[in-house]
Structure formats: C-alpha cells, structure tokens
Symmetry: D2
C-alpha cells in the first residue's frame, strides 16, 4: 500500500510550464521585494500575569463516536485516549500546570508567568491542538486495538485569559459542573433506554424539565442505582497534574583505598498524575498548592 | 498491547476523596454561578474582505528528519506526506482556495469572503493545525510503509490577513522565493558533501558569501548539474488548487413504450490538483482566474 | 479670576506625610524595578494596506444642544464649529485624505499607506479625539460669539479598517445616507411643529411609518417646501478634502548689471476645501482621483 | 470676530453639483445596502477583572511650553491646569478610582470591575482624551488669566491593563519614580543655569553621568538647597482620589401638633482630593483602602 511518490498518491502532480531560466538568478532580489508581507502579521501576545487556558473541542465528535461504535453513555477507551493525548501535550509543554478533560474536550492551563512562545496566543493554541491531534491518532491502537480509525479526527481550540486565581478556579469549576450535569443526564437517559426499554425520544420526553434530584430519584427508585457510586471518571472528568516523586536507586561504588560500598541516590522526578476528583471545593487546591501562583 | 482502561495506561488514576453527597443537587446552581468566566473570551474575528492565510510550520523538524532518516536534501516521502495532509485539510475546509507547501511548512489561503467559523482566527488556525497533524500520523504508513513513526509530531501555526490580491500574491511569491533560495543552497551543499567529499563544515565554508549565480556555477562546472533540470517539486514546492473536471458516465435507460437506450450523464466535480509550477509570474494566475476575488 | 496655584483651585492639595529621606537615593534603582509594567502594553498596529477611519461622536449632544439653544432642526453655528474643529484635526494630521461630518459626528480617513504613529490605533484615535475637542472649545467664540460655552464637551471615537476602495466608499455612503434620512425626518418633524403647530408627540405620531416619499409629500403639499431645495449643508453634510491651488506672487528683483525687473513666482499650496456635495455617486470620486489609492 | 456661517470661516464651502432628484427616494434602500460596513468594526473589550489604565501625554509640549513661556523647571499654572482637567475627567467618569499626573502626562485608573462603555478600550481612551483636552482649553483662563492660549493643544493616549493590585501599584510607582528622576535632574539643571550662570550645554555636560546622590550634593553644597525641601508638588506629582466627607446641614421643621425644632441632616458626599504624597510605599494604600479591589 506504500506509495513512493506524491505523483501516484495525488494523481495530478504537474510541472506546469518550463520556468524561466532567469528566475533563479533574480530570486534573492525577488525575495527581499516580497518580504514586506511579514509586516501584516499582528502581535497576539497574551497579557502578562494571567493564566492562559487553551481549550480543545472535538469537531463533529457525535458522528465520530457513532462511526467508531463508542459505548453509551461513556466509552472508557475514548476517554483514556483523550487523556493519553493530553498527557502528550503536557509532556511537550511543561509550563502547563493543570489540564482538565471530559467528554470530547480538554482544557490546558499554562502557568501565570509562562513565557513559552513569548506568550503568543496563536503559537500556544496551535501547538496544543496539533500535538493533541497527532497524539490521538498515534495512540489510537493502544486503546482501540484492532478496531480501525476510519479517518483523521479534528479538534478546534481557543485561548482564554484569567487574571486571578479565583477566576481560574471558577473556570475549572465551570467545566467540572458541566461534566456533572451532562453525565447525570446521559446516565439516566441511557439507563432508561438500555435497561428501561424506552426509545430515545421517549427517554427524552421523560427527562424534559427534570431537576438533578428527579434524575437521581429515577436512577435510584427504578433501577436501584446510586448515582454517587457511579464511576468517578464519568462523574468528575480527569484532572492532570504534575506530581513529584522521589526515586531511589542503589549503586555499588568503590573508592581507592576503601572497600566497595553501597550508596543510595535519591532523585526527585516530576511525572503526570491523572486524578478523578472534585476540583470545585478547596480540598484539591490545598493538596496541590503549587498549581496557583500567588500575586500579592 | 491494547490497554483497556486509562488506569493501566497512566498508572495513577485516582479517585481523590469521596465527594460530598450534596454536590450533585447543587451543581446546576453552581454551574450558572461559574458561567461568568465565559465573558473572559475575546472576539478574534478576522477583518472582513481580507484573505485569511494560515501557515503551519513543523516543530523541531530538523531533529524529526534526522530521527526518521529523511533523505538529504529532500525526502520525497516526507514532502508527499505533507501534501497528503494539506489535501486532507482542504477537503475538510473547502473555503480554502489555494495552499502552498515546501519543506516542513504549508500555507492555506481562505477565500476573501469566507465565513467559516464566523472568521474567528483561533478556530480557523487550530482546526487547520489539528486536521493537518492528525492526517500526518494517519497517512504516515502510505508513504513510509513499515518504517515506524517514532512519536507524534507537532506543528505550530499563525494567521495573517492580506487585504488585496496584490498582497496575497506577494505573500505566496515570498514563500516560493524562500523555497528556491533554500533548495538551491541545500542542493549545492549536499552535492558538495555527498559527491564532492567535503565535510559539512567544509561545504558551509565553501558556500559562505556565494550568490545564486555562484551556486549554479559550482553545480554546473564541478558536477555537471543544471539546477534548472532538478525536480520542480524541490525547486518550486507544491501548490494545491481546486480543479473542476467533467465526469461522464453512461447509463442504459428504458422508458415505457420505448426501446432501451444509452444516455450520457456529465457531472462537474471539484477535486484537488497538486502543481509544481511557478506562482510568482502572471501565467499561473491567468490560468486560475477563480482563486482571486476582485474587489473594484 | 486667575488662580495662581492648584491649591486654591482644588482646595485640598495636601502633602501627605514627610517622605523618607532614603527615597531619592534609591529611586533610580526603584524605577528599573517597576519598568516591567511596560510589557503589559499591547500592540494595536492597524493592518497594513487598509484605510484607517476614525469616527468621533458627541457625548450627550442632545442635552448639550438644548443647553446651548441650538436651532432646530439644524444649527449652522454648531455645524460650522464641528467643521472648523475637523479642519484643525486635518491640519495636524495631514495623512487624513478625506473627512466627512454631519450632525454631531465626524469621520476622518487616513490614507491607506499612512505610517503616522506607526499605524497604532490607540494613538491615532486619541490624537484625533483630543485635537478635535480642544479645537471645539478654542474656536467656540468664533461661531457663538458672546454666548458662553457652559462646560467642556466630550466626544468618543473608534477606529475601523477598510481593506478596499469599494469598502471605504460604502462606508462614506453609509454615513451620507444616514445624514439624508435623519435630516429629512428632522426637517419634516420641525416643520410640523414650528409651522404646522403640532406638538412634538403629535409630530412623532404623524411621521410613524412614513416613507421618504411620504415625507417629501408632506413638505411639498402642506408647506410648499421642495426638500431638494433645502440647504445642501443639511442634506449632504460636509466633506473636507485637500485641494491644490497655485499661488502666484510678483517680486521685483535686480541683478547686477541688469535693470530691475518683475518676476512671477508660482507655488502650489495644499489647502482644505469644505464641500457639501453627494459623495455616494461616482462623480465626486472622478473629480477627486487622489483620495483613493489603487492596489492592483 | 463672530463668523455666522461656515462659508465665511472656510472660504470654500461649495455645493458641488445639483444632486439627482432620485437620490432621496432611494436612500433608505441605499443605507441598508451600505450598512454591511458596520461589520468591519472590531471588538476591543478589555479583559475582565483587570484594572484599566488610560495614560495621556501632551503632544509636542516642549514647544508648547516654550511658546507659552512656562516657568522652568516647573510651571505651577500649567501643572494646576493639568490637574483641573484631570478632575474634569474624573467627574465625568466616576469609575476612575485614582489618577496620577506629573509634567505633561496623566494616568487614569478605572476600577477593576468597571463596566463603563462595556469596557471597550477605544471608547474609554477617546472619551478620556477628549474630555481632558476640551477641559484644558476651557479652564485655561482660570490659570493663565489674560495670557492667550495660542492654539488648541493635543494629547495622545493609550490603554494598558493590569491584572493584579501588585501590578497596578508597580505601574503607579513607575510613574512616580519617573517624576522624581526627571524633577531632580531638571531642578539641578535649571539651578545651574539660572543661579550658577552656566549655559544649557554646560549644565548638560556637568550632569552627564551623575547619580542621584551627586545631584543632591551639587544642590546642597553649591546652592544650599535641600532637595527634600523642594515643593512636593514637583517631587511627587499629583494624585487624585475620591474622598468621602460628611456634610451636615441644620433644618428647622415643624410637625403637626409639635413645636418647631431643629434637626441636623448628615449626608456623605464624594469629592476629589488632590494629594502630593508618596504612592510607592504602603502608607498611602493603607490610608486609602477603597482604591484596590481584592480578588481572593
């Protein structure tokens, strides 16, 4: 299936016309003549001392999920692949201090004082979108095995700035509250369909106008499901943070005129941890005091 | 190698603490309380009646090329994969009227009057970067066969606006002049190394301060190479445009009370053509009058 | 009435506390410590090759007009003062190629290729707003004589970019069409009130839902007024352009060994002309070919 | 000197050509045809939860000062007029919580949570520039008496955002440190010229390379001047803040079936105070706790 050249692959690569022999000798001069077009680039440096958030969203993932037979209401393989891709982004851009994902979206938070890409918004968001997308295809097989990826998926992104710790926490709370609301709805909806025998439109009607308490009640009284015992991965989404671990290794050394001895070398390493906990309350932030930067 | 769950893959997925039973009932209220953070998003709509150019550049592709044993000075598989990925972007976003690529970069030009994503710069550039990157991994095997892709590559992007046809043509001319200058240099450099037996630093010294004419002369007098006969793919880069073709199909039809007869149905289809021609001169633009939009 | 010092004028200038004697010696060091705050300034350079339009609007001019007894529906003194102020702006910033004013608004168009203030939007618009406002007060007496200006008026402004000649003309047409619509309405409204004896709310009711033709008809059949004979200043607003005039001066000169003779020296001078003509049709633009810059 | 009409003032108001009779009837349709140009306006809303600083600078004030015979190194009339104009701005825009001025510049700080003009940068800065400039001319006579203002002066402005209290204080400290450095230099320079008999270029040479301590020493040992006893207005610039004062008024009232009695009504009023104190240290901020908004 290997195609050696672009000609074969595209079927239409053409060398239009023999080009002028004069072209090459005049091209350096030519280049400088055209270079003024650089001045049309605009500066999109992000305001200093603000958290830079890049959020990605899957493009047409509803259809993508159908075509790839994702389990309803949550597909653990797909969620894991999202998180694996997010991890790949964080490893590339280690000024990301926290990432939060749910469904087909992921948010990446750069530290307040980051100077990556000189804080240029376009560079930051395209690099995140690119690394995430190439990783999604690259790691597909680790989560979906022999099930083929049918086409290359797309994600779009945006940059949002948050000037204070308070605003940033509210942003992340907003995304986690969104995860909760959607997951509660989806859990009841698919339980009504898969176990209650309702059609999708019947389930929709049933849920119209219901509050969170009503949905919890349907799950509990009709299906004996305590929503709070459902998988925290689904209820809470995934939070990626850097964790420091001490790694100790033992070496034998022998110094001149001494006997050989064993020494233990301890090295602190940073690695990414994926958590499924509440990030709305204070507890998470007290346990991870390094994420937010104070600004007195 | 299939990993069923994220737990195994990341080794550290943890459900931090039992979450409060009160969480779910208060979360809808909570969400609305946090929703103000949306107002921190800024509007980055591109100025109307301007061409929108998104240019992607490979991140650390020098190293990527080394690690994947790309042929010097040009690797046709790599160039073809770039173009295949660009084609995938154009198919997704058919308001792109022309794309131009060389080396590890690709420029995509949206038509002046496009309203894709309401002309929001961040959406346009992240979607292009994402689609290109996922395609690069997806189509890798078609061009590199059994040679493994070692890690997911990254591309960064930017958006530049051009208010006139003249400016847009100068932008594309700038990129093609850049292609020419780099390729001439690389061709001589690697000829001196591969066939002339010079070390890379000797070749570098040899070329210091030489003009285009000098480089042509070295190729011609020392290696009997006429640069102008080198592959146009390398000298000119690749230009992607939409071409209309008429496709005729023959069908047999039989109407009541008539004899069966053959009819020919002609359908106009748009498809992408990859060209390796000069786009600096007027000829290309005269042959493709649909790319530029006039604005009297 | 002259107040010599700010103390008297504000009544509360206070030297808070004796400042530390150490302050002065450490202040240079201090300044460099604070200078990072400069990096919070953002670049707001206007896209190249676009017309830059600054439009000013009077703040609360409805009330201002009442308080200063402006004639209804148009006050020629006020219109003239607006134009005098606009002229002052153009004289300061001679890259303005055309200005258009009506009612309490004025638009200033910088030439496409201007590099004033390095095309920084904030500098351009604040300078225009400032020069206009100081001129308005400065020249007040020339138009209002002994009638006192009661307080310093305010104008706000904005910057809009237009990438093509076509767009710019449409912008100016939009403002002139707006002038026409408002003036027609105001002319009929105040004629009904001042000559027809209607109250303002009766006049409002009478005009509800009427088209331009209806309004023309009311003027003509009821008051024998042909709207098209009304003052062009009111119907068309004021357009400021640069005009070149040749100024000839006669000098007597006496060269050695020659008789004294008279010579005529002709100098081309640019000065501002105020026109009250239609700028929607082609005629104006054909007569003033230097305003628009072509971009092939 | 009153000119009744613009014709006389500009000498060139012309009604170009008789306009088409069809114009008026088609103009409403016309206007809607042109209205698309509105979409070229861009949104320049300032990021939420940041202090918005508008700084104005005099245009060519060196020359303006010479032409109006400003006293060297400081002219109290001019400084007072600047502050009077700044006060006029604050009274118009009462979301300004502090303003700081020195020399020919003034900075205005809008409160973090302001929603004036929907936080649109262009509106905020042009309104400040406009109000300041018209006030400068309006109040000129109060400070300069019979000395004529020769022409309307100009000021340009910019907007800068500061996300934290810390950043804002550093901004104001930067401006006050700048005031100190300039004033120390100017004080020594003009003392050397006015009392020491040096020419301006001799004074310049004398001060080349001197530190703050050296300058203080010159003043003290050669002219017996203790710089710290110089006017705080010149050393510290002017800080405008809102101050609350209780105003008590006594009224006589008489209720039915009661005797007439006197009552005291206390009303809290905000008014602007002009201070000349240090705003770099903590003291000022402790005494004015309402200026900064906390954001936990």
């Amino acid at each position: 299936m290997l195609k050696q050249t672009i000609q074969r692959s595209l079927g239409c690569l053409r060398n239009c016309k023999p080009h002028s022999a004069h072209f090459s000798s005049s091209s350096i001069m030519a280049k400088s003549k055209f270079e003024y077009v650089r001045n049309f680039e605009t500066d999109d440096t992000c305001l200093r001392n603000c958290y830079i958030v890049v959020r990605l969203d899957g493009r047409n993932f509803h259809k993508f999920a159908e075509q790839h037979n994702f389990t309803k209401p949550n597909d653990n393989r797909a969620l894991s692949l999202m998180t694996r891709s997010a991890q790949s982004v964080m490893e590339e851009l280690d000024d990301i201090v926290i990432a939060y994902g749910q469904s087909d979206e992921y948010s990446f938070v750069f530290k307040r004082s980051t100077n990556w890409f000189k804080r240029r918004a376009s560079k930051l968001m395209t690099h995140v979108a690119s690394q995430f997308s190439s990783s999604y295809v690259f790691y597909w097989r680790e989560y979906f095995g022999e099930q083929k990826l049918l086409y290359p998926p797309g994600f779009d992104g945006r940059v949002v700035l948050y000037p204070s710790n308070h605003n940033l926490r509210d942003y992340l709370s907003w995304r986690q509250a969104d995860c909760h609301i959607n997951n509660l709805y989806n859990t009841v909806f698919w339980t009504l369909v898969q176990r209650g025998g309702l059609s999708t439109s019947q389930a929709e009607d049933r849920l119209k106008g219901t509050l969170a308490a009503d949905k919890n009640e349907i799950l509990f009284s009709e299906f004996n499901i305590n929503y709070n015992n459902e998988s925290p991965l689904h209820r809470k989404g995934t939070t990626l943070v850097w964790e420091k671990t001490d790694e100790s290794t033992t070496k034998k050394i022998k110094l001149p005129q001494e006997e050989e001895k064993e020494i233990t070398v301890t090295r602190t390493r940073k690695k990414i941890a994926a958590l499924t906990c509440d990030i709305i309350g204070d507890e998470f932030w007290e346990e991870h005091p390094d994420i937010l930067e104070n600004d007195s």
